[in-house]
């Protein structure tokens, strides 16, 4: 999975800035996407491309349980969020609805990857290659069932053993 990185070098990006409360009444996903990250980065919508990734610090997606957050990012084209850690509800929402991959990274990837870098994520090998800088980093593997839910394409397609 290849794409370019949009980097937010900060911790605690909350779901209120990912999709502000006033838009939670919107049912149309592409309209929702047009307001993604509006609370933090009003330029996001104009710069994001299909297949991009977001890179950020600790506790990404904290706050409200709104699934609108991963939906808005996903329908903006974001395929994965790489973060030092995730708030648990955001993490589950991202996986259960198969909206995007929440990928936990270590400090080397967080500091090594810059805005605009092209990276290649291999979830089978748990590896992230930075094609721009010719570096590679480890990602934390998904737990067994989370991996299976992702593979199945979401919670409702997952059939327990």
């Amino acid at each position: 999975m290849k794409g370019n990185v949009i980097k937010y070098e900060r911790d605690n990006i909350d779901t209120d800035v990912i999709i502000p409360g006033q838009y939670l009444k919107i049912h149309d996903y592409s309209e929702l996407a047009s307001h993604a990250m509006e609370g933090l980065d009003p330029q996001f919508h104009s710069k994001v491309k299909e297949g991009d990734f977001i890179l950020s610090g600790k506790n990404f997606g904290c706050g409200s349980s709104r699934e609108h957050a991963p939906i808005a990012l996903s329908h903006s084209g974001i395929k994965a969020v790489l973060a030092l850690s995730f708030a648990r509800i955001f993490y589950r929402n991202a996986v259960d609805g198969a909206f995007l991959l929440p990928i936990e990274i270590e400090e080397d990837a967080y500091h090594g990857i810059s805005e605009g870098d092209e990276i290649d994520i291999d979830v089978k090998l748990n590896e992230i290659k930075n094609l721009t800088k010719n570096q590679s980093y480890k990602m934390k593997p998904f737990s067994e069932i989370i991996g299976k839910i992702i593979e199945a394409g979401g919670l409702f397609k997952y059939k327990p053993d």
Binding site: V17, G21, Q22, C62, I89, I146, F156
Partner: protein
């Protein structure tokens, strides 16, 4: 080795246990509201599924309901559609709904306990992160997203990774329990452990500082567990818990039998081990005021706005975050908190809009008026709270002081209905989140207790309520 309260509740609800990854957990109560449920019901329809246990599912509308006269039509078309959609979904799937005209309508986390729907030892989920509130009753209660809402509607179960256990002991006694409240305790905890301090855990709050609290105060504590990143907060039930839930509208008929069981079983064994512990002594704590853009950015009312480098303690990310927060909040480091002038006051939300909160807030405003430059509103947590408050004359105390006295809902906590801040407005708020734009684009939120918010409304700036006459 003994078990923690959390482990006991967890073990009694496991349907399928997995060593690596989530287990399937049975859900005793599912609370539903208008914002995080529409797609879940659509999903059921698409797959020809029913709600498995409509009798264990309860709905209300709270997030985007107007807090003005309930007789008026809802002007916001999208809100109106969302509210009508919930009505239709509840009718189609046979779910009990407390609609906008019901005397039981209110914020979902306020009505659960007041109706006796929230019970000790049970598992409770809701498509709302503040579901942790119900943990005050010794229930394992946590927020979920819409995909999981659909999963629970369809199966009454949820896949959940077993959280770690985290004991937070609150020791000591507050010197002035009217001025220093449960809100100040939980803000102090989050200030100390950080917004990620509880990530992946269920917090059990224990100690004299917790058992001393009333049920409504314990709800304030558990409510904000999510702001420390925890999945849930818990307090072991005691006689206060059992008394609070007795004779409510939905209290089970065999209540005394249940109480005997709960009294015996719902506690952490003396030899149980927690994965993590933290102790806070509250002998000397003072009223808290948040200065930044997450609940961990909080300080004593007697302090000044911190310098980012002092706040960050060598963490560069934290320092940058503090700088950005101060810029957003338009605050200069070194400014005494009591010099910060405010434009708005919001007394409401699932954190602090129950009857006791309103009683406490009313103590500093009797016979006084809201400062000329301040607009202040009270939004009771439920229509029942509103009614009970009116029975003891609180509405008159508030309106005489020029507070707006409104109908129940989430209101300005999250800015989904017309109750929002204008860009640049500064608000003393009893809610739970001071995130950028949370109360309206460009709005600036300071989290405080109800009595601190009321005092700020009167003075026009933050004040140390310990110095006020609360007799």
């Amino acid at each position: 080795m003994g078990k923690t309260l959390f482990e006991k509740i967890w073990d009694s609800h496991v349907v399928v246990e997995k060593d690596n990854g989530p287990s399937l957990i049975y859900v005793d109560r599912h609370l539903v509201h208008e914002v995080t449920s529409p797609q879940a019901f659509d999903g059921l329809r698409m797959n020809n599924r029913k709600v498995r246990r409509p009798d264990l599912t309860i709905a209300t509308m709270d997030h985007n309901v107007p807090t003005t006269d309930r007789g008026l039509p809802i002007l916001d078309q999208t809100s109106s559609i969302q509210i009508k959609t919930l009505e239709k979904n509840c009718k189609d799937f046979g779910i009990k709904l407390f609609d906008i005209n019901s005397s039981n309508q209110g914020i979902v986390h306020v009505i659960g306990p007041q109706l006796g729907i929230t019970l000790p030892g049970s598992t409770i989920v809701c498509g709302d992160s503040h579901t942790s509130t119900h943990g005050a009753f010794g229930a394992l209660a946590f927020g979920i997203g819409t995909s999981d809402v659909e999963h629970v509607l369809a199966s009454q179960t949820i896949w959940l990774e077993k959280p770690k256990s985290f004991e937070i002991k609150v020791e000591g006694k507050r010197k002035n329990p009217h001025a220093v409240t449960a809100k100040d305790i939980i803000l102090s905890i989050i200030k100390n452990i950080g917004t990620g301090g509880g990530t992946g855990t269920v917090i059990e709050y224990s100690g004299e500082g917790i058992t001393d609290l009333s049920m409504e105060q314990r709800m304030t504590i558990c409510n904000m567990s999510i702001e420390a990143g925890a999945r849930a907060g818990l307090v072991a039930p005691d006689e206060k818990t059992f008394d609070y839930l007795r004779n409510r509208e939905y209290t089970p008929e065999n209540y005394d039998f249940l109480v005997d069981y709960w009294r015996e079983n719902l506690k952490t064994d003396s030899d149980a081990k927690f994965d993590k512990t933290y102790t806070l002594n509250i002998d000397k704590i003072v009223p808290q005021v948040s200065w930044g853009t997450n609940p961990g950015m909080t300080c004593d009312v007697t302090a000044s706005v911190p310098f980012p480098e002092d706040f960050a303690k060598d963490d560069l990310n934290q320092q940058k975050a503090a700088e950005k927060s101060l810029q957003y909040m338009n605050l200069k480091p070194g400014t005494p908190i009591t010099d910060i002038k405010i434009d708005r006051v919001f007394i409401g939300s699932c954190t602090n809009a129950r009857l006791e909160d309103l009683i406490e807030a009313s103590k500093v405003i009797k016979g006084k008026k809201v400062s000329q430059n301040v607009r202040a509103m009270v939004v009771p947590g439920s229509q029942m709270v509103k009614k009970k408050a009116e029975e003891i004359g609180l509405d008159k105390i508030f309106t005489d002081a020029n507070f707006e006295w409104r109908e129940a809902g989430c209101s300005m906590c999250l800015g989904m209905n017309p109750d929002i801040l204008s860009p640049g407005e500064r608000c003393a708020s009893t809610s739970n989140r001071n995130f950028e734009g949370r109360q309206g684009t460009g709005g600036r939120t300071h989290l405080v207790s109800p009595i601190m918010a009321a005092a700020a409304a009167i003075e026009g700036h933050f004040v140390d309520v310990r110095e006020m006459d609360l007799s």
